[in-house]
């Protein structure tokens, strides 16, 4: 099954944001990263639903951190992209790149 083709735009954004946050990828920085890079502020509901769905698909993995007082004694849930997730994002982005080839749209924007 070609998992990459099943990734929607929003799923790709979330996966890339998780990759960009590296070892500090939990809800708050992921949301900030998406805001910073895309200019749109995602709703927390949409973000957590997508994170859960990507984890259920096996594209993300999560682990619980240590509880902190500033969060009312609640632990952070850190995400990492699995090898399958990385392969999926590469496949999806390669498809975009192939479609863009020869169009020079990025150069026009610059």
């Amino acid at each position: 099954m070609n998992v990459g083709l099943n990734l929607g735009e929003w799923e790709q954004i979330v996966l890339l944001a998780v990759l960009r946050c590296e070892s500090n990828a939990y809800g708050v920085p992921i949301r900030d990263e998406i805001s910073l890079c895309t200019g749109r502020e995602p709703s927390t509901g949409a973000l957590y639903t997508t994170l859960d769905r990507l984890e259920d698909k096996g594209l993300l993995r999560s682990r619980m951190g240590t509880p902190t007082a500033e969060r009312g004694g609640r632990a952070r849930r850190f995400f990492t992209v699995t090898a399958q997730g990385k392969a999926a994002i590469v496949r999806a982005q390669s498809a975009y790149r192939r479609l863009l080839e020869g169009l020079d749209l990025l150069k026009e924007q610059a």
Binding site: Y26, K57, M64, R71, G72, R74
Partner: protein, 250 residues
Amino acid sequence: MKGTRIAERLLSCVTTPARAASQVGDLLELSRSRGTLWFWRAVLGNAAHGGVRFMMAFASAFACSQTIAMLWAHGILGNQPDRNSVYTVGLLVLAPICAVPVFLLLRFGWRDDHARFSLLFALVAAISFLCYPHTGFRWTLPAAAVFIASVTLAKGRRRNRIPLQSLAQISYAVAISVSGLVLFFLVLLFLWALMCWWVNLPQAFGVVIATLAGHPVNDLINAMICLVIVRVSERMRSAGLTRSALQTTR
């Protein structure tokens, strides 16, 4: 901030307790610059987002359960048609074992261990239940299926979980569903008695019984069984996820 426990409980209805706790923690962090109103709006938004998938899965499981009830009532599943008392023991066994995998597959997807396990179990149990006319086979084969599936669950990632624990969880789920059904009938019985005492008409009994034998109440009972079963399934799954998350942290 006050009421964060309520927020956590609300989110626990649509996701696992561990995920709900981390979401509330994130929202608390974000709400420091945005305020209390934003926090509660985000909590409700998260609950709505998570609830959509649950509702869709539940509706599909309910439809599956209703279809089986209808087939059973017409004797299409190899049983004796019995339209007056639809809720025989056979149907009470068959409807949940078919509805639960539908719910879990839609709620958590094919990759989920519990969804796969429940589908496997439902296939084995339903086939053995429908194919063997002998009563002994009817009950021993599903029991064997439960045991085999429990052993399967105990393997792989959950090595520390012994088969008996899985078996106990499934027995617990069945016990909860049966007790829910009994409780529902007891409440109905109490309402009948109250109504007859209040109206003081012997005919009231006949009217109520005739209404209960009708389809809408059967639907309601079916929905309640389905709801109890899916909630127990979710709790079982979330308990497993929490345990594995804790193991990962250690």
